[in-house]
Every structure is written in C-alpha cells, then in structure tokens.
C-alpha cells in the first residue's frame, strides 16, 4: 500500500518539478499562507500577555502540534475531499476499475509536494515553542505521540469529509467547516471556547485529543475545565475510534455510490 502511494506521489511530484520556478514559489507561498495564522496569534499577543490563562509560547506550542498534524494530512490525505468533484465530472469510476483501494488512489490523486512548505512552517513554530517553553523533558515523549494522534484524527476527519460527499454531492464546501474548522479550533487553548463546544469536541468529535488534552500533560498544566488527569492519555484510543468510524463511513459511501451510480 505504502509503495503504491509513494509511486503515485512521486509521479505527480516529478510532473510538477518540470516547472521548478513555480514549484519553489508555491512552497514559499504555502509557507506564507499558513504563517498568517501565526501572524494572528502574534497580533493577539501584542495586545495581551495571556489568553484564557495561556502564554504566547504555550499557544504557539498548541498551534505547532495541531498544525504539524494538520499540514501532514493536508499533504497526504486531503485530496480525498475531491470526491464530489470526481463524481460530478464522472471520473470516479476510474478509481473503481483499478485493483487498488479507491481511498488510497484518491488520497494520492494530484499529490501536491509543494505543500511541504506548510509542514515546514508548522514544524518550525513547534520547534520554536518547545525550545522557548523549557518543558519537563520527562513529559516530552507525549509530543510525538500527540502529533501522530493528531495525524490519525485529521486523516479520519478528512475521510469522513470524503464519505459525506457521496451523499452531499452539490455542497462539498460544507465539510470545510469540519476539516479546516477543526484546524482553526485546535490552534488555540480550548478553554477560550464555550463549555458545550468543548464537550462536543471531547466526547463526540474528538478534536480535543489532537493537542489539548495531551498538550496539557506536556505543558504540565491542569485542565481549566476540570477534566480528570487520565483523559490526557486517551488520545490514541479516541483517534482509533474515530478512524474506525471513518473507515465504516467510507465503505458506506462507496456502497452508496455503487448502488446509485452517482
């Protein structure tokens, strides 16, 4: 599976690299686009020293972990959200006549290597935040765990977004509220949001486990909203549960397509 994905991705990258000028430009601009979110954080903290009890560097830490996970998915999985485009153009059948899973083919479809600029930007911010925060190194193991958890959660979210488009063919933009919205939500400490919203992203759509719950552990802080300590470690379980739900939804989506032909 991995080798086929790599082969597809490599072929697209080689085709794009035929125009080295725009390839490099797009990497730089991808960097700039995601840097906008950091600019907002910096502007906010030019006006205050803490936001809902969190310092600038702590917010940058949350931003960095969420964005690193998100941009990796943006690069490797997000192409799945073109399901409705393919259905409308009649090109979806092509994915079904090949002996490889349609999910894998769609994720690799038009693989865009210049999105690496966004990943680099997120990685740099995380690197800065970790260096600036002077974290307890005995808790540092949580950082890679939370990034991987985040990657699984966002991949699952994108897969759900793709699955939904089998039904909502005319309104693909709806799913952006959950994918890009999920990224927007996780850039800040969840303590800024209303309790009901935080509850729903903890117990229904587990975005709180991308970086908030495990992040509190890594930062050595208690949850201002008072969830118990063991919740900090539930990320991988929540990610797996969501991934399972996404896989089922995707299968259901394909089944729906195969029973309607559209």
């Amino acid at each position: 599976m991995v080798s086929i994905y790599a082969r597809l991705a490599w072929t697209w990258t080689r085709a794009a690299a035929a125009y080295p000028g725009s390839f490099v430009l797009m990497i730089v601009l991808g960097f700039a686009t995601t840097a906008l979110d950091v600019a907002v954080i910096l502007v906010v903290f030019a006006n205050t020293t803490t936001l809902a009890g969190f310092s600038r560097d702590e917010v940058l830490f949350l931003y960095g972990t969420a964005s690193l996970a998100f941009t990796v998915c943006d690069m490797f999985v997000s192409n799945i959200d073109r399901v409705s485009q393919h259905i409308k153009a009649g090109t979806f059948d092509t994915f079904l006549i090949r002996p490889v899973s349609a999910w894998l083919q769609l994720c690799a479809d038009r693989f865009n290597a210049n999105r690496i600029g966004r990943v680099l930007q997120a990685g740099l911010v995380l690197g800065y935040a970790v260096a600036a925060l002077d974290l307890d190194w005995r808790r540092a193991w949580m950082i890679p765990v939370m990034v991987i958890t985040g990657i699984v959660i966002f991949s699952a979210l994108w897969t759900l977004a793709g699955a939904v488009q089998f039904v909502l063919t005319d309104a693909p933009e709806l799913v952006n509220a959950f994918t890009y919205g999920g990224h927007q939500l996780t850039q800040y400490p969840l303590s800024i949001y209303a309790r009901d919203l935080v509850r729903s992203v903890t117990y229904v759509l587990p975005l709180a486990f991308v970086n908030w719950q495990p992040g509190l552990y890594a930062l050595g802080r208690d949850d201002p909203l008072g969830t118990p300590e063991f919740m900090r470690f539930l990320g991988p379980a929540a990610a797996l549960a969501l991934a399972l739900a996404a896989a089922l939804a995707w299968r259901q989506g394909i089944r729906h397509y195969r029973s309607t032909g559209s």
Partner: protein, 249 residues
C-alpha cells in the same frame, strides 16, 4: 467468461423505481467478440458498470472470469480491461508513459512482461510519437489508443469497451478496429463492445446482442440480425427497425 443470470438493476428516481436493466441473462464464451447495441438509455452503461463491479446488481447474478464483480471488484480488476470512450482512465496531467508506469505498479505487472507488452502495444497502436506528451494535450484518436494500451498492459482475459470509437475520424477508427480484430484473433481476448457506430459491428462482431428498455431484444449472429429484415436492408435499417419496433411493444 461473462455470465449474467436474470441480472437486474433498478434505481430510485424521485420515489419511483426505474429498472435500468431487468432479468438480463446472457453468456459470453472465452474468445468471443460481441457487439452490444441499444438506443440511448437502454441499459448498456448499467450493464458494463455491473460487469466491472462499479454497480452492484439489485437482483440476479453476474459473473466475470468466474468472479462476482460486486464482491471481488479489486481481484477482478486484474483480469478485466475497461475503456470508456467518453472519458479517459488515464491521468490527465501526466505524460502517457507515466500513466503506463503507474498502471504497471497498480496492477503489479512484472517489469520484463511490462516492457515487452508495452513495446508490442506501442508498435501496434503507434504510440511512439506522443508517449511523452501529457494526456490532456493528446488528440481524441491518440488518447483512445493510449487508453486501449493502458487497459491491456496487465494482459486481461476480458476487454470491455464502452463506445471506443466515439468522435474519432475515419482513419483513427480504422486503426482501432484493426487493432481490436487482431487482439481478439491472435490473443484470444474476449471482447464486449458497445457502440452506436454500426460500422464497428459490421467489421468486428460475429455476435450481436441488442438491449432495449433494460432487457435483451436480440441475441444472435450478424447474419441472423440481417435476416430479421427484408433483403437489401442496410444494417442501419435493421437496427433502427429493432430499436423502434421493440420500443412499441
């Protein structure tokens, strides 16, 4: 090689049930070259989609190369080749050669076998001049030759063609027909071909099946088909009679 037993496919359209295909039964033996005719909306595409596992039948059974397409879609994919005339299965922005290379990996074709098969296909389909060109820049005839090669690189036992000559000029059409004829004769590949071009049928198909309103209206040799009408009728007349005739019943 292809067996349909009372296969049916219905769709819900605005709360009423539409039978795109109903009680369709036929068998295509290995090595046959069958033309599959029918007016627009008769159920040709639905049949083809059921053969490749894109659509699951609502009733009856479908078997292709001994497999149930709706359950074994990806296994079947290695044994069947599919060409859609209306749209390409190639990667639009990639050079043709890159598309072939990807297909080699997707279908896990052994490198040596791939090389010799590609060389042969490039030769017979005359792909050499444009194999490095991105697919979007190819002419329709070039693209169709590329699509045919792509569908055959994994040496499928069955080739399903959905209007492969649509929109092609006379020369391109002749080239494609010659190629298909040889493929069937020399390699014994089973071919099912839908078309609106009766020239394709006359030149290629020993057997003709005609579907209308979702069920089989005729199944026999080209000679049988011609015999259903008065002498001196052209094939166009014969088919038109069948289309309108079965439409009236």
């Amino acid at each position: 090689m292809i067996e349909l037993d009372r296969a049916g496919r219905s769709f819900k359209v605005q709360r009423s049930l539409v039978h795109a295909v109903r009680d369709l039964s036929f068998t295509v033996s290995p090595g046959e070259f069958v033309g599959y005719l029918g007016p627009n909306g008769a159920g040709k595409s639905t049949t083809i989609k059921m053969l490749c596992g894109i659509l699951t039948p609502t009733s009856g059974t479908v078997r292709v190369a001994g497999l149930d397409p709706s359950r074994k879609r990806t296994t079947l994919a290695r044994r069947i080749g599919v060409v859609f005339g209306q749209r390409t299965t190639l990667w639009w922005d990639l050079p043709l050669a890159d598309s072939f290379e990807l297909i080699r990996h997707l279908y896990k074709v052994d490198r040596a076998a791939f090389r010799s098969r590609l060389a042969e296909l490039a030769d017979t389909l005359d792909l050499g001049a444009f194999i490095r060109t991105p697919v979007r820049q190819l002419s329709l005839g070039q693209r169709m030759r590329g699509d045919l090669a792509a569908a055959l690189l994994h040496a499928p036992d069955v080739l399903v063609l959905d209007e492969p000559t649509i929109g092609l000029d006379v020369v391109s059409k002749a080239g494609i027909r010659d190629f298909l004829k040889r493929l069937n004769a020399e390699r014994g590949t089973t071919v099912l071909l839908t078309t609106h071009d009766l020239g394709d049928i006359e030149r290629l198909c020993r057997r003709v099946m005609l579907i209308d309103h979702g069920s089989l209206a005729f199944d026999g040799t080209l000679g049988d088909l011609m015999a259903t009408a008065p002498d001196q009728s052209s094939i166009e007349d014969v088919v038109a009679r069948l289309y309108t005739g079965s439409g009236a019943t």
